[in-house]
Amino acid sequence: MAARSRKNKTTEIFALGNEAVVEGALIAGCTFYAGYPITPSTEIAEEMASRLPHLRGGAFIQMEDEIAGLGAVIGASLAGRKAMTATSGPGFSLMQEHIGYASITEVPLVLVNVMRAGPSTGMPTNPAQGDVQQARWGTHGDHPIIVLSASDVQECLRMTVTAFNYAEKYRTPVILLLDEITAHTREKISLPDPEDINIYTRLTPSMPPEWYMPYEDNMRGVAAMPPLGAGYRYHVTGLIHDDHGYPTSNPREVEHIMHRLFRKIDQFFYDIQMVDEIQCQDAEICIIAYGCVARSAELAVQQARERGVRAGLLKLKTLFPFPRPAVEKMLRQCSNVVVPEMNMGQMSREIKRVNATQSKIITLNRVDGQIITPGQILSKILKG
Amino acid sequence: MTRKKGESKVKVFLDWCKGCGICAAFCPNKVLSVDKQGKVRVDREDDCINCGFCEIHCPDFAIMVYPKDERTPFEANIDDVAPATREELHRIRNSNST
């Protein structure tokens, strides 16, 4: 457990990114963790194993594999718990089946994927950002999903809380993408007073059980969700289902549910979109980055400005739904946009897709298991 | 629970019956058979000893065996909503013809 010191009423700790995830989860009200150990996400499981049994009703279980881990998390969430798991590349691939299940059955859960270099076993202890598109489209079929990222330890805590809030609010799995660097960096963070943090907990039905419809289409597109055993007996299935939860292949009903699933995320896009604009106001050249690379970029921006180049950084905290308006704004403003990422261009293809203004998109890809350095980004900025 | 012949009625929900024939094959007294339509027919209701086999082995919950003198819910209100019994119909028809 990370050490604590109390200063000015806020508690400060010197913690790993992975430990900060646990702090965030506990603040958000998480009482259930199931998973399978995998580097570099293991500290999350270890910390949960020692913390959860101290909570009223808290439970941790190490399952036989990642598929089982996410299965148990879905089960616990159906039983009314705020539940999460954490994994890395190979485990994330195994979990895809259940991400799809949670999407179609609209089960809230948080999945932290600490990205390592891949594909396959790859380099377990080296960072990468190769799971970005897999997080969005990894499971088969069209499905709604929210993908967030964090770039420093304090953000690991904040984004975990946010991930739980989104999951509960929109009844959807939320994936938090970290990388080996962010997860394994130790930094000072302040633990917020839980009273100061907005915690959202899923709506439960308040109507007689006979009238409850588990997948009712209401104004929000998100139906209330009772815990198992509360008197609202309904059917949960991975088959496409109607508003009552029963399997259907009626084209009208199928279209209805698929469109609702997308609408429930789309219509709250501005609630979900999170970006940080760092020195963007007067920027002539913009860097768009996320995760640990955003930290390199921040230093590169500072160094560029010292040399008289007006650079700015758009840090993406929400990766999907893709923060198109914020990106488009920078594309309009800057004729040159640098996109550094530790993959072969998984996010830059999204940026190119929305590049209506024909700005020059300069990609900077690194897949050797090393972080992109500020120097590399700076040279791209200076070359233009 | 009666085990005597002639004390039970057998009801088959034909909409639910798929005619698998398990009930007919294992009925100790050959009360049931499968007809040409592929549905179970009650041939010899009076031979039923209410052994219970068909009820618990019908995969489709389509057979009910119950005491002859008892009305079951699905026929409980028939008398109330159907004003005329067979005898009454006869009487009406006869009275019309005269």
């Binding site: 010191s5 010197f14 130790r186 930094e187 930290r295 390199s296 500072q302 350095t373 500020p374 120097g375 | -």
Partner: protein, 193 residues
């Protein structure tokens, strides 16, 4: 004086062999600087099979303001508790940076300008060779002008298990006092931007 020192990316690398407690050393130091001295600190380390047995390293970036890039770029201070680590990482040191080595294990320093103390031998004298890292921590507390001994001792007590605290405090003091005696002027040599 030292606690108010303004720092802009002061970078330290602690290196040595796996099993020497390099990571613990980094964690105690990082925690003391972050929580007690109030600096921003990022501590990163190499993980995985390479961290077992062979070379081990732990990097700290210390700054007064927010730290963007969490890894080291150019080292201000390299601490090497093994010859191999010293050879491997010396090239990452700034020209005006300092090198601190365990002279019991590092026989050939790549430069004549270095600080050296026999940490391993000193730990043996304390009575437990496993306290080598803490002896080094004591010395570091002297060499680094913005680190306070009281805070480091406090952080040490928080992180280490109760039953080994006493001997480690002893080890810490031995390193701190020896460094002070042999290199009394060392803390004055730093130039901070």
């Amino acid at each position: 004086m030292s606690n108010d020192l303004h720092l802009d990316r002061f970078e330290v690398r602690l290196s040595g062999l796996g099993g020497q407690g390099i990571l613990t050393l980094g964690r105690i130091m990082g925690q003391a600087l972050a929580l007690d001295h109030g600096y921003e600190v990022t501590q990163t380390q190499s993980y995985g099979p390479e961290a077992r047995g062979g070379a081990s390293r732990c990097d700290l970036v210390i700054s007064t303001g927010k730290i963007s890039y969490p890894k080291t770029i150019c080292l201000d201070l390299l601490v090497s508790l093994s010859q191999e680590a010293c050879n491997k990482y010396f090239g990452d040191l700034k020209t005006e940076g300092f090198l601190l080595v365990d002279t019991s294990l590092v026989g050939q320093t790549p430069t004549n300008i270095f600080w050296g103390l026999p940490f391993t031998t000193m730990a043996q004298k304390v009575g437990l060779v496993q306290t080598t890292n803490i002896v080094a921590l004591g010395a570091l507390t002297h060499f680094i002008p913005f680190m306070r001994a009281t805070s480091v001792r406090k952080s040490l007590k928080e992180i280490l298990p109760q039953k080994i605290v006493d001997i480690n405090i002893k080890a810490f003091n031995s390193g701190f006092n020896r460094a002070k005696k042999e290199y009394p002027e060392a803390p004055e040599k730093w130039k901070f931007s």
